[in-house]
């Protein structure tokens, strides 16, 4: 697969704060990436650097093989939908969509119109009078209908209810299958998007903590459920990162991959395996790694 984004040792310094600290990663064509991390971890800054909306203090960024800053050829292939996007005060929904249509060569106007109706966005309403959720929907429509080879969504769902968010995930998935492109989804609602993600980048305090295929990440832990004493017996000597008791039952999340031997033993004990939540796993891994890093510094 072709690499379309290359980030090498990129840093962004604001006065007294290292927002992004020597970050390196690559993005490949035709994949959905999750950029995960807590608020203030540096996700938005990284995406602004990618799209030349911010200028790195250090390091090198290549998009489609070229530097993105003031590069119309590159920026025309990127659609970056950010939560804080501003629109002119006098713009109506229709104006925003019409302008977006001019800027993205792959724009699908009928798809945009269908999405607008699905999100119940009044065409003639001024954008500044939209609710937070409707404003998010404008971004979502632009992001999906742009069909840009690199589409980046930064927390695109603010103010949207669970139904509308679900709608967005389904639409993204459906359109992605029909028109494969590279999608970066930045979010802290990890569990909601986990089924979409093929690759996960976890950012913490301006650094990359995890950069891994979602599948191999999921295999780093498993959950086992059954009567409490049996689960405890099974999990003895293993690294249990989470215990969820429910009455006399216990679900334990165990770090490490599941071998045939363990599978056999669990079956003997009458235990069941449950899927592990990506969110839980990332929370745990993040905790471990930052603790590890903190220890390193000392």
């Amino acid at each position: 697969m072709r690499t379309i984004v290359e980030v090498r040792e990129v840093s962004k310094r604001y006065k007294d704060n290292m927002a992004v600290d020597r970050v390196s990663f690559t993005l490949e064509e035709g994949k959905i990436y999750g950029m995960l991390g807590r608020n203030g971890a540096g996700k938005t800054t990284i995406m602004q650097l990618l799209t030349a909306q911010a200028i790195p203090s250090d390091g090198e960024i290549r998009l489609f093989g070229e530097a993105p800053y003031e590069n119309a050829r590159v920026l025309g292939q990127v659609c970056f939908i950010k939560e804080s996007q501003k629109y002119p005060d006098n713009f109506k929904v229709a104006d925003a969509l019409a302008v977006a249509a001019m800027f993205f060569p792959n724009w699908d106007a009928s798809y945009a119109e269908a999405l607008r109706q699905q999100y119940n966005l009044p065409e003639r309403r001024q954008i500044k009078k939209l609710s937070r959720g409707m404003l998010s929907a404008v971004g979502i429509i632009i992001g999906l209908a742009s069909r840009a080879p690199l589409t980046i969504f930064d927390e695109p769902y603010l103010g949207l209810d669970a139904v509308a968010r679900r709608m967005f995930y389904d639409q993204l998935m459906a359109d992605y299958i029909e028109h494969p492109r590279t999608v970066v989804l930045s979010t802290h609602l990890i569990d909601e998007v986990s089924r979409l993600l093929e690759h996960v980048l976890v950012i913490d305090r301006g650094r990359i903590l995890i950069n891994e295929e979602a599948e191999s990440l999921r295999q780093q832990a498993f959950a086992v459920a059954g009567p409490m004493n049996k689960v405890e017996t099974f999990a003895q000597g293993m690294k249990v990162i989470q215990r969820d008791p429910l009455g006399a039952l216990l679900t334990a999340t165990v770090l490490g991959s599941l071998g045939p031997e363990q599978r056999h033993r669990a079956e003997e004990l009458g235990l069941e395996f449950a899927p592990v939540s990506l969110q839980e796993l990332i929370v745990q891994l993040t905790k471990n790694q930052s603790e590890g890093k903190a220890a390193e510094r000392v």
């Binding site: 909306q53 119309a72 996007q85 006098n90 977006a100």
Partner: protein, 226 residues
């Protein structure tokens, strides 16, 4: 589609800011003064068209915060944004100058609207040939537009503090210059210069200033982030 014309089309979507509001301001100012002139026996001269120029100064300031984040958000380069915005300003400057000239003609044609009311064809302002009148309107318009854009770009690039400092410097320099002018009796010479030169000559003097402001605005926008 050409990348610069796309930006112009984006601006033109905002019909209120570019067409309707300025037309309304001039229209209302004209109507009220016309009404007053009906009740006056002596001729009425008013500087109502100055509002056009004040307004474009405001537009120059507002256009950047209003549209720069969207243009950059949609993947425009800062250079394309600047070119498209500057061209939009130039196009409106040319259009406004021609419309003002035409309305001045109409005013003469209707014998000052029949009520001795002088709004578009003012002495000193609308003297000289058509080309000179259009040129002077255009030059003043562009000066104010780029001045506004310069202020907005300073804010974009350096934040709100830079504006406060600029204002402070402007006040100090203005006060000192005013004092010196008073102390050494330059005012008389300054007034005389304006009186002896046509508005075209005066407006031509804004040209170098306009160019400096335009280039500086470009330089700052190129380094601006959203």
């Amino acid at each position: 589609m050409n990348r610069t014309t796309r930006i112009m089309q984006m601006h033109l979507r905002d019909k209120w800011s570019w067409f309707l509001i300025p037309s309304m301001i001039v229209g209302i100012s004209f109507s009220i003064n016309l009404l007053i002139s009906l009740f006056m026996t002596e001729p009425l001269y008013t500087g109502g068209i100055a509002s056009v120029f004040v307004y474009i100064f405001v537009i120059g300031i507002l256009v950047v915060p209003q549209t720069f984040p969207l243009a950059i958000g949609l993947g425009t380069t800062r250079g394309d944004y600047y070119r498209g915005t500057a061209l939009t300003g130039l196009a409106f400057g040319a259009m406004t100058a021609i419309v003002l000239l035409a309305l001045g003609w109409l005013e003469r044609l209707t014998d000052a609207w029949g009520t001795d009311f002088h709004f578009f064809a003012l002495p000193y302002v609308a003297e000289g040939n058509a080309l000179a009148v259009v040129a002077q309107y255009f030059l003043i318009y562009m000066f104010l537009f780029f001045w506004g854009m310069f202020i907005a770009s300073t804010f974009r690039r350096f934040g709100v503090k830079s504006l406060l400092y600029s204002l402070l410097i402007a006040i100090v320099v203005g006060t000192v210059a005013g004092f010196l002018a008073l102390r050494f009796a330059w005012w008389e010479a300054i007034f005389e210069w304006f009186a002896t030169h046509s508005l075209l000559v005066v407006s031509l003097w804004t040209l170098p200033l306009t160019l400096v402001l335009a280039i500086a605005a470009y330089g700052m926008l190129r380094k601006s982030v959203v």
